[in-house]
Amino acid sequence: MEVTTRRFRQNTEDACRNGNLRAVLDHATRYFQSKRAAALAVFDGREEHFARARAARLTALSRLPELLEQLEQNASAAGVRVHWATDAAEARALISGIARENGVRVVVKGKSMITEEIGLNEALQSAGAEVWETDLGEFIVQLAGEAPSHIIAPAIHKSRAEVAELFQEKLGLTGQSIPELTLLARQALREKFLAADMGVTGVNMAVAETGSVILVENEGNIRMSTTCPPLHVAVMSLEKVVATLEDAADVLRALPRSATGQRMSSYVSVLTGPRKAGEADGAKQMHLVILDNGRSKVLADPALAEALLCFRCGACVNACPVYQTVGGHAYGWIYSGPIGAVLNSLLLPPDDTRDTPYGCTLCGACAQACPLGIDHPKMLLALRQQLRTGSGFGALHTLLARHPLAYRAAAGTACAVDPDLNLLARLPGLPGVKGFARSRRLPSLKTPFSARFRALQTSRRKGDA
């Protein structure tokens, strides 16, 4: 997909003008938040469970190299072919290579952000394969030629009416209600599952002690993608490993509740190697691609390594007032919302994401929502420090503030010349002030508090004397 993070600010302005989008997002994010709140309300000992999930993730990060080696050993022993990829290009080449070697013509995919991150679909298509997204939301955005706009709900930005129109246009199928539309998608996809030569999925967790890959979903399409075709390729970024099945269980207690407000998702698949002799189902050949793509660099940065704890539940995204207003596409790449602003900044070149850490009021709703205790505002501040872009307004203010006499003189002059800040709003170099003033009356400068306070004290002293 085209990366538009450089246009982040403009994207948000455009999105704000799209009233339809705002209404759809408002409805959807409220829906997710209320489902989640209801699930958490009846989750006994939830703080303790969340702490256990965090501990499992922390263990994974602190023992990453060792656990990944263990994962490789145990997965290989179970018959999985394990591959390592440093970056997106290597991963694309690797997976296209597997497809070519096996003469793959049709690929079915389970929803996965990691294959979006590496742009796998385009690569497989140029290797001559037909690629079908089989998650309903992903299927919708694929038909529309768009990217997902939410880490767990790819088509969250589309209304039912828009989906109905899309199906009519692209598939020639007519449906109105959600069950109808879902059935249409199911029928269209069923043929693809049966025709597929290869299934590609992400990985929610990979268990080092058993070499298993765990996949969490609600539609059953991931299980179909891993069992119908003879060949299954699972792609994981390296932080997805956990040490033990016990740890995986701790994560599983928190993830669905925080993501969709379910006690457990409809399907949890634990895949330990391909189909073995005498087994009735499962892929005949299974590959696991372990991808770095910038993560090991992030892990080495103490201010930002926390981002790798994330298990992509989306709670912070739904809680974010900026996301609620502009949606995911405005962020300019596949990740969005609070954790997305952090990930985009970490995974894309710094020059492409100079505005990204600034698209946040630091309100902290994200950190409050995160079951793993990730502090997004702190990370966004760390990113701002690393960028050192600052803001002209901030720099001027700081300069003056370091010299209180100059500061008072500047404020005094402004108060005398332009108390209502009318001139300020018209200065050409300050488009932001103009934008701010468009919807607010600017504050007026008044006789400063310090002058009033000292005058009061003086008059009281005189009164006492």
Binding site: T12, E13, A15, C16, R17, R22, P321, V322, T325, V326, Y358, G359, C360, T361, L362, C363, G364, A365, A367, Q368, L381, L383, Q385, Q386, L387, R388, T389, G390, S391, G394, A395, H397, T398, L399, A401, R402, P404, Y407, R408, C415, L430, G432, V433, G435, F436, R438, S439, R440, R441, P443, S444, L445, K446, T447, P448, F449, S450, R452, F453, R454
Partner: protein, 271 residues
């Protein structure tokens, strides 16, 4: 000045028994730049309330900006320089009281700007420990919730992100307001949702900032309240500025202003 006993101060913090404290305890005023130049009435109300409680407010000289703007725009050196200044400005012992959650949060962040073990770090820890947000100081540290204020009004309280979440002060302002006789406290639909200000955010992402302040204002007006009250001057400026743009006359007041009014000490505090 009413004599106001200081017993509740007792052992709460070291500053209560700081030396050089006469019979009346002094409180250092930490006045945010926005209050200094644009909302001086908030500072005046703080003075009225503290004096009513028997404290002697003092205004240490040389205040400009606590460094929040520098810190939040990634300028650590600038923030550190301003923090050093503030350590000087507020070097005298005794509590420091500030009518802004975000500025207090900044001072609480000072210790992270200096290496542990350095004298600056120790001083920063000391200052962070005796710097209080106004409502927390009055209701929490002084233990004074019912000040005897009286004001017949329906007040909608906006719990700002910095007071509510960053400092975790959710009850003190609400308790103070509820104790005002005649005052009915109401909350907007999403009381803890951001008003969209966010400092430089409001200058760089003007569309989103505007959308958020519109949402916030709608929800506040829907309560039918007579006034909007907050403990964060920047939120008051943001929401108040938007209310003025859309022609609404809804007053926007700091908690301190409501208390001062209720104590009959309001001057032209209504905006």
């Amino acid at each position: 000045m009413p004599p106001g006993p200081l017993s509740p101060l007792a052992s709460r913090a070291g500053w209560a028994y700081a030396p050089c404290m006469p019979e009346t305890m002094r409180a250092h005023l930490f006045i945010p730049c926005l209050v200094e130049d644009c909302q001086p009435e908030i500072g005046e109300a703080v003075v009225s309330v503290l004096e009513h409680l028997g404290l002697r407010p003092e205004l240490p000289r040389g205040q400009s900006c606590c460094g929040q703007l520098a810190y939040k725009t990634g300028d650590l050196d600038g923030a550190r320089a301003l923090a050093l200044r503030y350590l000087e400005v507020f070097h005298a012992p005794g509590p420091v009281v500030c009518p802004s959650g975000s500025c207090v949060k900044m001072v609480r962040t000072y210790p992270t700007l200096f290496a542990p073990g350095t004298p600056e770090h120790a001083r920063a820890l000391g200052l962070a420990g005796r710097t209080f947000e106004f409502c927390q100081f009055v209701a929490g540290e002084l233990g004074r919730v019912d000040l005897g204020a009286q004001l017949a009004t329906r007040a909608c309280y906006h719990g700002s992100c910095q007071v509510d979440r960053a400092l975790g002060i959710t009850q003190a302002p609400r308790d103070l307001l509820r104790a005002v006789r005649g005052l009915t406290l109401v909350e907007a639909a999403r009381p803890d949702r951001c008003c969209g200000f966010g400092g430089v955010f409001s200058l760089q992402f003007t569309g989103v900032s505007q959308a958020l302040v519109e949402d916030k204002t709608e929800e506040i007006l829907a309560t039918g309240a007579d006034m909007l009250v907050s403990a964060e001057p920047s939120c008051l400026m943001n929401i108040g500025g938007h209310l003025a743009r859309r022609g609404s006359a809804l007053p926007t007041l700091h908690v301190a202003q409501v208390l001062a009014l209720g104590l009959g000490k309001g001057s032209g505090a209504w905006r």
